[in-house]
Point group: C2
Chain length 355, copies 2
Amino acid sequence: MTDSPPSGTRRVTLSQVAERAGVSRSAVSFVMNGRTDQRLSADVFERVRRAAEELGYRPNQTAKTLRTGRSGTIALVSDFVSSTSYANAMVRGAMRALRERDILLFTVDTEGDPQVEERLLHSLFGRDIDGVIYTSMFTRIVDPPPLLASTRTVLLNCRARGGDDVAVVPDEVEAGREAARLLVAAGHTDGIWFVGDLPPGRRGGLLWNEWGPLALPERLEGIERELASSGLSLAGHVAVDDDWDAPNGQRAVERLLEDGARPSALICVNDAVAAGAYRALHAAEWRIPDDVSVIGFDGSPLAGMLEPSLTSISLPHEDLGRRAATLLLSDDATPRVERVRMPVHLGASVGSPTR
Amino acid sequence: MTDSPPSGTRRVTLSQVAERAGVSRSAVSFVMNGRTDQRLSADVFERVRRAAEELGYRPNQTAKTLRTGRSGTIALVSDFVSSTSYANAMVRGAMRALRERDILLFTVDTEGDPQVEERLLHSLFGRDIDGVIYTSMFTRIVDPPPLLASTRTVLLNCRARGGDDVAVVPDEVEAGREAARLLVAAGHTDGIWFVGDLPPGRRGGLLWNEWGPLALPERLEGIERELASSGLSLAGHVAVDDDWDAPNGQRAVERLLEDGARPSALICVNDAVAAGAYRALHAAEWRIPDDVSVIGFDGSPLAGMLEPSLTSISLPHEDLGRRAATLLLSDDATPRVERVRMPVHLGASVGSPTR
DNA sequence: CTGAAAGCGCTTACAG
DNA sequence: CTGAAAGCGCTTACAG
């Protein structure tokens, strides 16, 4: 009698367990799958369990898959999510949700190429994946590839144009409200500017702009609605030239100040633009938050590195990923859009207006 | 005759292709796998090809796997690599290398838990993966789990204590030399300090320190060797209190300046520490690079955001990942450590010494 | 050159 | 309560 699996040899099969336990293969299968509906004797159960343990039996998932059509794997299909830092915490969230269930994750990035996407999907389907998390780096509207119709799918950080899917997105409108609420609570009234509009007439050009990111319109909508509910409105908007990065944010705020505006607070479309705003304000010798308050969005690492640290409404990437995986594994496929709260990452960049 | 696959029905099988083409299943298999060694007639070849296309035939990879033992999938197994931003570009590199070969990637993070690791490995083996890229967020020495002995494995961003594996790591020693070389070329001689030693006696505590990251000793070795080759040596070392982040870097450099040191250049163990150094220098009214040059390591996004932009020796994460995947798929399993060049990310933080 | 058959390792009606 | 048998969709000796 060997108590450890034979070394340097093939993997143990169910047949071997059956033989050792002195039962049929069916019995072993039932025990391994915990099928108590077969009314196996406690003795058989125990013998099988012990034989499996002694032999170090590990079920061959490939064989199970061929037989049952279920593989215990899902795929996270995205443009850039798993190969790029920005929204990568969604992968963490999904992985954590799956970990408890012995489900493995295929990770594929198409880098935005529809042909690659189609090829990868076929490749995945050929491996009998049980479902797809279809996701995007930036929150946006997508046209899910028709191929996806044949699998259980959850959209993550994106919504289908049609809308009859299960989708999980950050609650950007509420995030906008939150930003406005913080400023109103601090006493700001008529000097609140928004920084980060796209230049009038701008369409396409920026990769992410062609994709129509939802962050801008939804954040703005929340801000305006919340201000309106207090009888307030934005003092104005400043557009960026190109992109939502620090140099563009800096130029935008430089222009604003040169135009003679006296903002009491800047709500920047994201943290990078806010970082640029910091530079422009610093150069013009405006103190944050004494002379002007600043709020960003995204909750990026950058927010904590600025001085003073930036108050930012965070993209809850990990929560989004976890929620999407959980929904995919649930049996509820009712089409809907779930909005996940964007938590405030409190910094030291918001104060009371002094003017 | 239907020219498109029947909709809303089961997937097309090889048998159906055989039937439609009027040949045996063997013949179809041979054609689909491009086995010209069977000397099939050109006519059969063409008939099969057409039948497969008309039916939209996609081979069932699960069935192939069960039969052949090869699944066309590999796994990237790490502590935090795929679920965390830092070294995530390694996933991109690996994915890009695999993309051309129709090999899919399982991505699993153990978050440093050996039990989770073992469970995940069994789960992967049960799916007949063809190989494993075993990787770590920080470059370090690992003890690869014994289970890995049963699969083709490449170590990525880590080396085995034993050493009889294929490993791909960044060339940290050469990176250290490069940093020193830049300063020597700019004319620095006796005022070059290293910032980022661990405090004397420090062992453990920091998660990554328990793991014994190789960046510190190897970068330092390269720096010292390169300086020595020019007859120079470091003016001294400053240790951080805790961690390699900006606050620690700032405190370290504050101490250095308070002690009356007059550095002409600071080589910081990484970019975050360099960012802290910037703050300390700024506060003390030292100008970069006029009064002091600064060099970092990692090539993080941070380097480009500092003012002036930081010259940094970059971790080539994408290259590392690509190389590891390529090695895994090659048939050369000769144990060795491949060192990948760390390119200089040139900023504006290095100048000639003025004192 | 082609086709019938075995078999990869499971699950699951079905007969006893 | 148990066991023999079919079958998931392929690949691959093997006989012709």
